[in-house]
Symmetry: C2
Subunit: 254 residues, 2 copies
Protein backbone atom coordinates (compact mmCIF):
# COMPACT_ATOMS: atom_id res chain seq x y z
CA UNK A 1 0.00 0.00 0.00
CA UNK A 2 1.69 3.18 -1.18
CA UNK A 3 -0.78 5.82 0.02
CA UNK A 4 -0.19 7.98 3.00
CA UNK A 5 -2.04 10.31 5.32
CA UNK A 6 -0.59 13.35 7.05
CA UNK A 7 -2.75 14.96 9.72
CA UNK A 8 -1.46 18.51 9.56
CA UNK A 9 -1.78 21.20 12.22
CA UNK A 10 -1.78 24.65 10.66
CA UNK A 11 -1.95 26.57 13.94
CA UNK A 12 -4.58 29.15 14.86
CA UNK A 13 -5.67 32.03 12.70
CA UNK A 14 -3.00 32.88 10.17
CA UNK A 15 -0.02 31.61 8.21
CA UNK A 16 2.50 33.05 10.68
CA UNK A 17 1.86 30.05 12.91
CA UNK A 18 2.55 27.51 10.15
CA UNK A 19 5.62 25.32 10.72
CA UNK A 20 8.03 24.34 7.97
CA UNK A 21 7.00 20.68 8.30
CA UNK A 22 3.30 21.56 8.02
CA UNK A 23 3.91 23.61 4.91
CA UNK A 24 5.94 20.78 3.35
CA UNK A 25 3.18 18.26 4.15
CA UNK A 26 0.56 20.46 2.49
CA UNK A 27 2.73 20.93 -0.59
CA UNK A 28 3.35 17.18 -0.91
CA UNK A 29 -0.33 16.21 -0.87
CA UNK A 30 -2.42 15.13 -3.87
CA UNK A 31 -5.64 15.62 -1.94
CA UNK A 32 -6.66 17.84 0.96
CA UNK A 33 -9.45 17.10 3.42
CA UNK A 34 -10.66 19.32 6.24
CA UNK A 35 -13.24 21.57 7.82
CA UNK A 36 -14.03 24.32 5.30
CA UNK A 37 -12.56 27.34 7.14
CA UNK A 38 -9.26 25.50 7.78
CA UNK A 39 -8.97 24.36 4.16
CA UNK A 40 -9.63 27.93 3.06
CA UNK A 41 -6.36 28.93 4.72
CA UNK A 42 -4.37 26.66 2.38
CA UNK A 43 -3.49 28.30 -0.97
CA UNK A 44 -5.39 26.68 -3.86
CA UNK A 45 -3.50 24.61 -6.39
CA UNK A 46 -5.14 23.17 -9.51
CA UNK A 47 -3.43 19.79 -9.15
CA UNK A 48 -4.69 19.24 -5.58
CA UNK A 49 -8.18 17.88 -4.95
CA UNK A 50 -9.95 19.66 -2.07
CA UNK A 51 -12.64 18.03 0.05
CA UNK A 52 -14.13 20.59 2.41
CA UNK A 53 -16.61 19.48 5.03
CA UNK A 54 -18.62 21.09 7.79
CA UNK A 55 -17.48 20.79 11.40
CA UNK A 56 -19.92 18.15 12.51
CA UNK A 57 -19.09 14.67 11.35
CA UNK A 58 -15.40 14.43 12.17
CA UNK A 59 -15.51 10.63 11.99
CA UNK A 60 -16.80 10.69 8.42
CA UNK A 61 -14.10 13.19 7.45
CA UNK A 62 -11.35 11.00 8.93
CA UNK A 63 -12.76 7.89 7.22
CA UNK A 64 -12.89 9.63 3.84
CA UNK A 65 -9.27 10.76 4.20
CA UNK A 66 -8.14 7.27 5.27
CA UNK A 67 -10.02 5.63 2.40
CA UNK A 68 -8.45 8.03 -0.09
CA UNK A 69 -4.97 7.29 1.27
CA UNK A 70 -5.69 3.54 1.17
CA UNK A 71 -6.34 3.93 -2.58
CA UNK A 72 -2.78 5.16 -2.98
CA UNK A 73 -3.10 8.93 -2.70
CA UNK A 74 -0.93 11.22 -0.66
CA UNK A 75 -3.54 12.87 1.56
CA UNK A 76 -3.32 15.80 3.96
CA UNK A 77 -6.07 16.13 6.54
CA UNK A 78 -5.93 19.77 7.62
CA UNK A 79 -6.55 20.60 11.27
CA UNK A 80 -6.60 24.00 12.97
CA UNK A 81 -4.15 24.51 15.84
CA UNK A 82 -2.48 21.24 16.78
CA UNK A 83 -4.19 18.08 15.48
CA UNK A 84 -3.42 16.27 18.75
CA UNK A 85 -5.32 18.66 21.04
CA UNK A 86 -9.10 18.25 20.82
CA UNK A 87 -8.78 17.85 17.06
CA UNK A 88 -8.44 15.37 14.21
CA UNK A 89 -5.52 13.15 15.28
CA UNK A 90 -7.58 11.28 17.88
CA UNK A 91 -10.45 10.93 15.40
CA UNK A 92 -8.12 9.35 12.85
CA UNK A 93 -6.82 6.91 15.48
CA UNK A 94 -10.39 6.00 16.45
CA UNK A 95 -11.23 5.25 12.81
CA UNK A 96 -8.04 3.24 12.26
CA UNK A 97 -8.86 1.10 15.30
CA UNK A 98 -12.45 0.56 14.14
CA UNK A 99 -11.71 0.31 10.41
CA UNK A 100 -10.36 -2.30 7.99
CA UNK A 101 -7.12 -4.06 8.96
CA UNK A 102 -5.40 -2.54 5.90
CA UNK A 103 -5.63 0.92 7.49
CA UNK A 104 -3.13 -0.23 10.12
CA UNK A 105 -0.53 -0.60 7.37
CA UNK A 106 -0.99 2.95 6.10
CA UNK A 107 1.80 5.46 6.45
CA UNK A 108 0.14 7.90 8.88
CA UNK A 109 2.01 10.90 10.24
CA UNK A 110 0.82 13.63 12.55
CA UNK A 111 2.38 17.05 11.98
CA UNK A 112 2.08 19.06 15.20
CA UNK A 113 1.21 22.74 15.33
CA UNK A 114 0.75 25.65 17.69
CA UNK A 115 -2.41 24.92 19.66
CA UNK A 116 -4.75 27.77 20.65
CA UNK A 117 -3.77 27.93 24.33
CA UNK A 118 -0.12 28.53 23.43
CA UNK A 119 -1.03 31.32 21.02
CA UNK A 120 -3.40 33.00 23.51
CA UNK A 121 -0.84 32.68 26.31
CA UNK A 122 1.83 34.27 24.11
CA UNK A 123 -0.42 37.26 23.40
CA UNK A 124 -0.60 38.21 27.09
CA UNK A 125 2.68 37.00 28.59
CA UNK A 126 3.12 33.58 30.17
CA UNK A 127 0.01 32.44 32.03
CA UNK A 128 0.98 28.80 31.31
CA UNK A 129 4.44 29.32 32.82
CA UNK A 130 3.73 26.86 35.62
CA UNK A 131 1.81 23.56 35.78
CA UNK A 132 -1.38 23.71 33.75
CA UNK A 133 -4.15 21.62 32.24
CA UNK A 134 -6.27 21.72 29.11
CA UNK A 135 -9.91 20.78 29.37
CA UNK A 136 -12.67 20.66 26.75
CA UNK A 137 -16.01 21.93 28.01
CA UNK A 138 -17.94 19.99 25.41
CA UNK A 139 -20.20 17.55 27.17
CA UNK A 140 -21.21 15.85 23.94
CA UNK A 141 -18.42 13.36 24.57
CA UNK A 142 -18.31 13.05 28.35
CA UNK A 143 -20.67 13.55 31.28
CA UNK A 144 -20.90 17.06 32.74
CA UNK A 145 -20.21 15.63 36.21
CA UNK A 146 -16.79 14.51 34.95
CA UNK A 147 -16.03 18.02 33.72
CA UNK A 148 -16.96 19.45 37.12
CA UNK A 149 -14.81 16.90 38.90
CA UNK A 150 -11.84 17.85 36.72
CA UNK A 151 -12.38 21.58 37.21
CA UNK A 152 -12.50 21.05 40.98
CA UNK A 153 -9.37 18.89 41.00
CA UNK A 154 -7.39 21.26 38.78
CA UNK A 155 -8.33 24.37 40.72
CA UNK A 156 -7.79 22.79 44.13
CA UNK A 157 -4.36 21.51 43.23
CA UNK A 158 -3.05 24.71 41.66
CA UNK A 159 -3.11 24.05 37.93
CA UNK A 160 -3.69 26.91 35.53
CA UNK A 161 -6.67 25.86 33.39
CA UNK A 162 -7.09 26.30 29.62
CA UNK A 163 -10.68 25.81 28.48
CA UNK A 164 -11.30 24.59 24.93
CA UNK A 165 -14.72 24.43 23.22
CA UNK A 166 -16.25 26.77 25.81
CA UNK A 167 -19.61 27.21 24.08
CA UNK A 168 -21.48 26.31 20.93
CA UNK A 169 -24.97 26.90 19.65
CA UNK A 170 -26.02 23.57 21.08
CA UNK A 171 -24.18 24.17 24.37
CA UNK A 172 -24.73 27.80 25.40
CA UNK A 173 -24.51 27.41 29.18
CA UNK A 174 -21.46 25.25 29.94
CA UNK A 175 -18.93 28.06 30.24
CA UNK A 176 -21.07 29.98 32.73
CA UNK A 177 -21.49 26.83 34.79
CA UNK A 178 -17.73 26.16 34.65
CA UNK A 179 -16.85 29.70 35.77
CA UNK A 180 -19.37 29.43 38.63
CA UNK A 181 -17.81 26.15 39.63
CA UNK A 182 -14.30 27.63 39.60
CA UNK A 183 -15.47 30.61 41.69
CA UNK A 184 -16.20 28.17 44.52
CA UNK A 185 -12.51 27.20 44.69
CA UNK A 186 -10.49 30.15 43.43
CA UNK A 187 -10.21 33.77 44.60
CA UNK A 188 -12.41 36.21 42.68
CA UNK A 189 -9.21 38.12 41.83
CA UNK A 190 -7.77 35.15 39.86
CA UNK A 191 -6.74 36.45 36.41
CA UNK A 192 -8.77 35.16 33.46
CA UNK A 193 -7.83 35.61 29.79
CA UNK A 194 -10.38 35.48 26.98
CA UNK A 195 -8.56 34.95 23.67
CA UNK A 196 -10.88 35.34 20.72
CA UNK A 197 -10.09 34.44 17.09
CA UNK A 198 -6.34 34.62 17.70
CA UNK A 199 -4.37 35.46 14.58
CA UNK A 200 -7.48 36.43 12.63
CA UNK A 201 -8.56 39.92 11.59
CA UNK A 202 -11.17 39.94 14.37
CA UNK A 203 -8.68 38.88 17.08
CA UNK A 204 -9.60 40.20 20.52
CA UNK A 205 -7.95 39.60 23.89
CA UNK A 206 -9.45 40.54 27.23
CA UNK A 207 -7.90 40.16 30.67
CA UNK A 208 -10.30 40.17 33.58
CA UNK A 209 -10.73 38.67 37.04
CA UNK A 210 -12.65 35.47 37.78
CA UNK A 211 -15.16 37.44 39.83
CA UNK A 212 -16.00 39.57 36.80
CA UNK A 213 -15.59 36.99 34.03
CA UNK A 214 -18.69 36.89 31.85
CA UNK A 215 -19.38 33.76 29.84
CA UNK A 216 -21.33 35.85 27.33
CA UNK A 217 -17.99 37.24 26.10
CA UNK A 218 -17.08 33.86 24.60
CA UNK A 219 -18.11 32.10 21.45
CA UNK A 220 -16.91 29.07 19.49
CA UNK A 221 -13.65 30.84 18.54
CA UNK A 222 -12.69 31.72 22.12
CA UNK A 223 -10.04 30.04 24.24
CA UNK A 224 -10.10 30.85 27.94
CA UNK A 225 -7.23 30.63 30.40
CA UNK A 226 -8.09 30.71 34.11
CA UNK A 227 -5.06 31.40 36.29
CA UNK A 228 -4.03 29.68 39.49
CA UNK A 229 -3.79 31.51 42.81
CA UNK A 230 -0.15 32.22 41.87
CA UNK A 231 -0.92 33.90 38.53
CA UNK A 232 0.01 37.60 38.43
CA UNK A 233 -0.88 40.65 36.35
CA UNK A 234 1.72 43.35 35.60
CA UNK A 235 0.04 46.63 34.73
CA UNK A 236 1.80 48.71 32.12
CA UNK A 237 1.21 52.38 31.45
CA UNK A 238 1.09 52.41 27.67
CA UNK A 239 0.56 48.74 26.84
CA UNK A 240 -1.86 45.99 27.78
CA UNK A 241 -1.17 44.13 31.02
CA UNK A 242 1.18 41.14 31.14
CA UNK A 243 -0.31 38.01 32.71
CA UNK A 244 2.05 35.32 33.93
CA UNK A 245 2.42 32.44 36.33
CA UNK A 246 5.82 32.44 38.05
CA UNK A 247 8.02 29.38 37.86
CA UNK A 248 8.35 29.34 41.63
CA UNK A 249 5.28 28.16 43.56
CA UNK A 250 4.93 28.93 47.22
CA UNK A 251 2.55 26.12 48.01
CA UNK A 252 -0.19 28.62 48.81
CA UNK A 253 -3.59 26.92 48.87
CA UNK A 254 -6.37 28.52 46.83
CA UNK B 1 12.26 53.75 23.90
CA UNK B 2 12.69 52.10 20.51
CA UNK B 3 14.16 48.72 21.49
CA UNK B 4 12.21 45.53 21.48
CA UNK B 5 12.39 42.00 22.74
CA UNK B 6 10.93 38.94 21.05
CA UNK B 7 10.92 35.73 23.08
CA UNK B 8 11.00 33.19 20.28
CA UNK B 9 10.00 29.53 20.48
CA UNK B 10 11.88 27.47 17.91
CA UNK B 11 10.20 24.17 18.71
CA UNK B 12 11.95 20.97 19.69
CA UNK B 13 14.89 19.46 17.89
CA UNK B 14 14.99 20.68 14.30
CA UNK B 15 14.03 23.42 11.89
CA UNK B 16 10.96 21.56 10.66
CA UNK B 17 9.13 22.74 13.78
CA UNK B 18 9.97 26.42 13.20
CA UNK B 19 6.97 28.65 12.47
CA UNK B 20 7.01 31.44 9.90
CA UNK B 21 6.62 34.05 12.67
CA UNK B 22 9.53 32.60 14.65
CA UNK B 23 11.75 32.63 11.58
CA UNK B 24 10.79 36.27 10.85
CA UNK B 25 11.53 37.28 14.46
CA UNK B 26 14.98 35.68 14.30
CA UNK B 27 15.75 37.38 10.99
CA UNK B 28 14.66 40.80 12.34
CA UNK B 29 16.93 40.70 15.40
CA UNK B 30 20.18 42.65 15.89
CA UNK B 31 21.14 40.48 18.85
CA UNK B 32 20.34 36.91 19.88
CA UNK B 33 20.35 35.61 23.44
CA UNK B 34 19.76 32.04 24.56
CA UNK B 35 20.93 28.77 26.01
CA UNK B 36 23.85 27.62 23.85
CA UNK B 37 22.31 24.51 22.22
CA UNK B 38 19.19 26.49 21.21
CA UNK B 39 21.22 29.36 19.76
CA UNK B 40 23.30 26.83 17.84
CA UNK B 41 20.13 25.91 15.90
CA UNK B 42 19.86 29.45 14.48
CA UNK B 43 21.98 30.01 11.34
CA UNK B 44 24.90 32.38 12.03
CA UNK B 45 24.88 35.83 10.47
CA UNK B 46 27.82 38.24 10.79
CA UNK B 47 25.61 41.27 11.53
CA UNK B 48 23.87 39.58 14.49
CA UNK B 49 25.50 39.54 17.92
CA UNK B 50 25.10 36.19 19.70
CA UNK B 51 25.09 35.83 23.46
CA UNK B 52 25.05 32.15 24.38
CA UNK B 53 24.65 31.15 28.00
CA UNK B 54 24.51 27.91 29.97
CA UNK B 55 21.19 26.56 31.15
CA UNK B 56 21.42 27.60 34.77
CA UNK B 57 20.84 31.29 35.39
CA UNK B 58 17.72 31.94 33.38
CA UNK B 59 17.02 35.14 35.30
CA UNK B 60 20.39 36.63 34.36
CA UNK B 61 19.80 35.69 30.72
CA UNK B 62 16.40 37.40 30.68
CA UNK B 63 17.81 40.50 32.38
CA UNK B 64 20.65 40.76 29.88
CA UNK B 65 18.21 40.50 26.95
CA UNK B 66 15.86 43.11 28.50
CA UNK B 67 18.74 45.49 29.20
CA UNK B 68 19.98 45.15 25.62
CA UNK B 69 16.49 45.89 24.27
CA UNK B 70 16.18 48.86 26.63
CA UNK B 71 19.29 50.30 25.00
CA UNK B 72 17.46 50.33 21.68
CA UNK B 73 18.37 47.00 20.12
CA UNK B 74 16.02 44.56 18.47
CA UNK B 75 16.63 41.46 20.56
CA UNK B 76 15.51 37.86 20.13
CA UNK B 77 15.67 35.61 23.17
CA UNK B 78 15.67 32.10 21.75
CA UNK B 79 13.77 29.38 23.61
CA UNK B 80 13.42 25.69 22.76
CA UNK B 81 9.89 24.39 22.27
CA UNK B 82 7.33 27.00 23.25
CA UNK B 83 8.65 29.87 25.40
CA UNK B 84 5.43 29.88 27.45
CA UNK B 85 5.70 26.27 28.69
CA UNK B 86 8.33 25.83 31.42
CA UNK B 87 10.63 28.17 29.51
CA UNK B 88 11.79 31.76 29.09
CA UNK B 89 8.53 33.75 28.75
CA UNK B 90 7.68 33.48 32.46
CA UNK B 91 11.27 34.35 33.37
CA UNK B 92 11.08 37.51 31.27
CA UNK B 93 7.80 38.48 32.94
CA UNK B 94 9.34 37.90 36.38
CA UNK B 95 12.26 40.18 35.51
CA UNK B 96 10.00 42.87 34.05
CA UNK B 97 7.94 42.88 37.24
CA UNK B 98 11.06 43.09 39.45
CA UNK B 99 13.08 45.37 37.16
CA UNK B 100 13.23 49.08 36.33
CA UNK B 101 9.95 50.81 35.47
CA UNK B 102 11.24 51.51 31.95
CA UNK B 103 11.10 47.79 31.15
CA UNK B 104 7.30 47.99 31.34
CA UNK B 105 7.36 50.31 28.32
CA UNK B 106 9.40 47.93 26.20
CA UNK B 107 7.86 46.33 23.14
CA UNK B 108 7.87 42.68 24.28
CA UNK B 109 6.38 39.95 22.11
CA UNK B 110 6.21 36.23 22.72
CA UNK B 111 6.35 34.06 19.60
CA UNK B 112 4.81 30.68 20.41
CA UNK B 113 6.18 27.38 19.19
CA UNK B 114 5.52 23.65 19.21
CA UNK B 115 6.14 22.51 22.78
CA UNK B 116 7.73 19.10 23.43
CA UNK B 117 4.56 17.31 24.54
CA UNK B 118 2.82 18.13 21.24
CA UNK B 119 5.79 16.84 19.23
CA UNK B 120 6.06 13.64 21.27
CA UNK B 121 2.30 13.07 21.09
CA UNK B 122 2.39 13.50 17.30
CA UNK B 123 5.11 10.86 16.97
CA UNK B 124 2.89 8.15 18.48
CA UNK B 125 -0.66 9.15 17.57
CA UNK B 126 -2.86 11.28 19.81
CA UNK B 127 -2.30 10.53 23.51
CA UNK B 128 -3.33 14.13 24.35
CA UNK B 129 -6.59 13.76 22.43
CA UNK B 130 -8.64 14.18 25.60
CA UNK B 131 -8.23 16.37 28.71
CA UNK B 132 -4.61 16.52 29.83
CA UNK B 133 -2.18 18.38 32.04
CA UNK B 134 1.48 19.39 31.88
CA UNK B 135 3.56 19.18 35.01
CA UNK B 136 7.21 19.96 35.67
CA UNK B 137 8.92 17.47 37.96
CA UNK B 138 11.58 19.95 38.99
CA UNK B 139 11.33 20.53 42.72
CA UNK B 140 13.84 23.36 42.63
CA UNK B 141 10.93 25.75 42.30
CA UNK B 142 8.15 24.10 44.28
CA UNK B 143 7.84 21.62 47.14
CA UNK B 144 7.80 17.92 46.25
CA UNK B 145 4.60 17.49 48.26
CA UNK B 146 2.88 19.86 45.83
CA UNK B 147 4.04 17.78 42.87
CA UNK B 148 2.65 14.62 44.50
CA UNK B 149 -0.64 16.33 45.24
CA UNK B 150 -0.92 17.37 41.59
CA UNK B 151 -0.02 13.89 40.29
CA UNK B 152 -2.68 12.38 42.55
CA UNK B 153 -5.32 14.90 41.50
CA UNK B 154 -4.57 14.56 37.80
CA UNK B 155 -4.54 10.76 37.83
CA UNK B 156 -7.64 10.46 40.00
CA UNK B 157 -9.68 12.77 37.81
CA UNK B 158 -8.72 11.24 34.47
CA UNK B 159 -6.25 13.70 32.96
CA UNK B 160 -3.52 12.41 30.66
CA UNK B 161 -0.25 13.69 32.20
CA UNK B 162 2.76 15.15 30.35
CA UNK B 163 5.89 15.28 32.52
CA UNK B 164 8.48 17.97 31.77
CA UNK B 165 11.94 18.17 33.35
CA UNK B 166 11.74 14.55 34.52
CA UNK B 167 15.33 14.30 35.76
CA UNK B 168 18.58 16.22 35.93
CA UNK B 169 22.00 15.52 37.39
CA UNK B 170 20.93 17.31 40.55
CA UNK B 171 17.53 15.57 40.64
CA UNK B 172 18.03 11.92 39.66
CA UNK B 173 15.18 10.34 41.64
CA UNK B 174 12.08 12.45 41.02
CA UNK B 175 10.80 10.59 37.98
CA UNK B 176 10.99 7.23 39.75
CA UNK B 177 9.09 8.67 42.68
CA UNK B 178 6.49 10.17 40.36
CA UNK B 179 5.94 6.89 38.50
CA UNK B 180 5.59 5.04 41.82
CA UNK B 181 3.08 7.62 42.94
CA UNK B 182 1.07 7.24 39.72
CA UNK B 183 1.10 3.43 40.05
CA UNK B 184 -0.95 3.82 43.24
CA UNK B 185 -3.79 5.40 41.28
CA UNK B 186 -3.60 4.10 37.73
CA UNK B 187 -3.76 0.57 36.28
CA UNK B 188 -0.36 -0.97 35.58
CA UNK B 189 -1.48 -1.35 31.95
CA UNK B 190 -1.80 2.44 31.47
CA UNK B 191 0.20 3.37 28.34
CA UNK B 192 3.33 5.48 28.92
CA UNK B 193 5.34 7.19 26.18
CA UNK B 194 9.00 8.15 26.58
CA UNK B 195 9.93 10.71 23.93
CA UNK B 196 13.64 11.35 23.85
CA UNK B 197 15.39 14.16 21.93
CA UNK B 198 12.47 14.58 19.53
CA UNK B 199 13.50 15.94 16.14
CA UNK B 200 17.19 15.41 16.83
CA UNK B 201 19.48 12.79 15.27
CA UNK B 202 19.32 10.75 18.48
CA UNK B 203 15.50 10.82 18.66
CA UNK B 204 14.04 7.76 20.37
CA UNK B 205 10.46 6.90 21.23
CA UNK B 206 9.38 4.07 23.49
CA UNK B 207 5.85 2.98 24.33
CA UNK B 208 5.46 0.91 27.47
CA UNK B 209 3.01 0.28 30.30
CA UNK B 210 3.03 2.10 33.63
CA UNK B 211 3.79 -1.18 35.41
CA UNK B 212 6.98 -1.57 33.37
CA UNK B 213 8.01 2.08 32.99
CA UNK B 214 11.60 2.53 34.10
CA UNK B 215 12.73 5.98 35.17
CA UNK B 216 16.29 5.10 34.18
CA UNK B 217 15.20 5.37 30.52
CA UNK B 218 14.82 9.14 30.86
CA UNK B 219 17.30 11.97 30.89
CA UNK B 220 17.10 15.75 30.62
CA UNK B 221 15.98 15.54 26.97
CA UNK B 222 13.04 13.21 27.66
CA UNK B 223 9.36 14.13 27.75
CA UNK B 224 7.04 11.54 29.25
CA UNK B 225 3.33 11.13 28.62
CA UNK B 226 1.36 8.97 31.06
CA UNK B 227 -2.04 8.02 29.71
CA UNK B 228 -5.36 8.04 31.50
CA UNK B 229 -7.41 4.88 32.09
CA UNK B 230 -9.07 5.62 28.71
CA UNK B 231 -5.83 5.76 26.69
CA UNK B 232 -5.53 3.00 24.10
CA UNK B 233 -2.76 1.31 22.10
CA UNK B 234 -3.36 0.10 18.53
CA UNK B 235 -0.85 -2.55 17.57
CA UNK B 236 0.25 -2.51 13.95
CA UNK B 237 1.96 -5.34 12.14
CA UNK B 238 4.69 -3.47 10.31
CA UNK B 239 4.76 -0.13 12.12
CA UNK B 240 5.10 1.09 15.69
CA UNK B 241 1.95 1.13 17.82
CA UNK B 242 -0.43 4.08 17.78
CA UNK B 243 -1.24 5.51 21.22
CA UNK B 244 -4.33 7.66 21.58
CA UNK B 245 -6.92 8.88 24.02
CA UNK B 246 -10.42 8.81 22.53
CA UNK B 247 -12.52 11.96 22.49
CA UNK B 248 -15.37 10.14 24.19
CA UNK B 249 -14.89 9.39 27.90
CA UNK B 250 -17.04 6.81 29.57
CA UNK B 251 -16.60 8.14 33.06
CA UNK B 252 -14.69 5.03 34.07
CA UNK B 253 -12.81 5.57 37.36
CA UNK B 254 -9.12 4.68 37.41
Amino acid sequence: MSGRLAVVGIGPGNAGYLTADAEAALVAADALYGYGPYLARVPERPDQKRHASDNRDEGARAKAALACAAEGASVALVSGGDPGVFAMAAVVCEEIEAGPAAWRSLDVTIVPGVTAMLAVAAKVGAPLGHDFCALSLSDNLKPWAMIERRLDAAAASGFVIALYNPVSRARPIQLGMALDRLRRQLPRSTPVVFGHAIGRADERIAVTALGDADAAEANMATLIIVGSPETRVIDRLDRGPLVYTPRMASGRQP
